[in-house]
Amino acid sequence: MKRTEDIENLSFEALERIASDETLNVPESLGRKLEDAIICEELTSGKQGRVSLRKAFYGCCAALATAAAAVSVAYFVESSQPTDTFDDPHRAYEEILRTFNYISSEMDLGKYY
């Protein structure tokens, strides 16, 4: 009966020779155990994949939230400008002249500092 260490210490050629020896009996459950081990390994790596997927999902949410915030701020800045009272520059010019004349008339009686 070989011990585990003996098997681990076997060279690659020795392992190949033993594998090609058809006289040795292979336990019937070995294939199933190997399949189970492979499935377990896949499940483990699949779990890691789900974790990465979750991280990616949160990253996307954060990116979307940032983009939404940026759009909101841009919209606010844009909409914070009041609408021009006049569409026609001639009328706006007349209003400015009227305002300047009003200001100068108010200056007329003022006390200056």
């Binding site: 009041p82 009272t85 006049f86 706006a92 209003e95 006390k111």
Partner: protein, 163 residues
């Protein structure tokens, strides 16, 4: 903890920007209210106005052309609404009191009180405010001119006005 600090800092930054008193905020608050006349002229409109031929050929006693060319915004509020006037007065006084405004002129006569304020440096005025309140009345006028106005241009208009 870091997230909380960042959120609080962001809120502080945005609220400071939103509620910092300026002529635009005051205009936006009262424009559209009943019995409040409002006029706003934007920097884009000023650019159009300055391209008009009549602006270049202005040759009247009081030449406002240099002033007009330096303006980027004009806000006018004329309130005849009792409740709005009270709030407007408080907001204007808070605005000119909390910022780097200096009183340029004050007049009290003819049933009204006129005050003019400027904000800026020795040579350039960034904001000019005219604030007129009627005695024993619910009327109030607020005019704000924004831009890069040369102090000497304002002084020329003042000098010409009092001749």
């Amino acid at each position: 903890m870091k997230k909380t600090i960042l959120i609080l800092a962001s809120i502080a930054f945005f609220t400071t920007g939103l509620f910092a008193g300026n002529a635009r905020d005051i205009y936006k608050k009262y424009a559209g209210k009943d019995n409040v006349d409002a006029v706003f002229i934007s920097s884009a409109m000023f650019r159009l106005i300055n391209a008009l031929p009549e602006v270049k050929s202005a040759g009247e006693d009081l030449d406002f052309t240099p002033l007009m060319k330096s303006l980027t915004g004009m806000y006018i509020l004329d309130s005849h609404n009792g409740s709005a006037t009270g709030d407007l007065k408080r907001d204007i006084e808070s605005y000119v009191g909390s910022n780097s405004f200096e009183l340029l002129m004050e007049a009290n006569g003819g049933g009204e009180k006129v005050r003019m304020y400027t904000s800026g440096s020795d040579k350039i005025i960034d904001v000019f405010i005219l604030y007129v309140t009627e005695n024993n009345s619910s009327e109030c006028t607020f005019i704000a001119l924004e831009g890069k106005m040369k102090r000497e241009d304002i002084e020329k208009v003042v000098a010409k006005s009092i001749e």
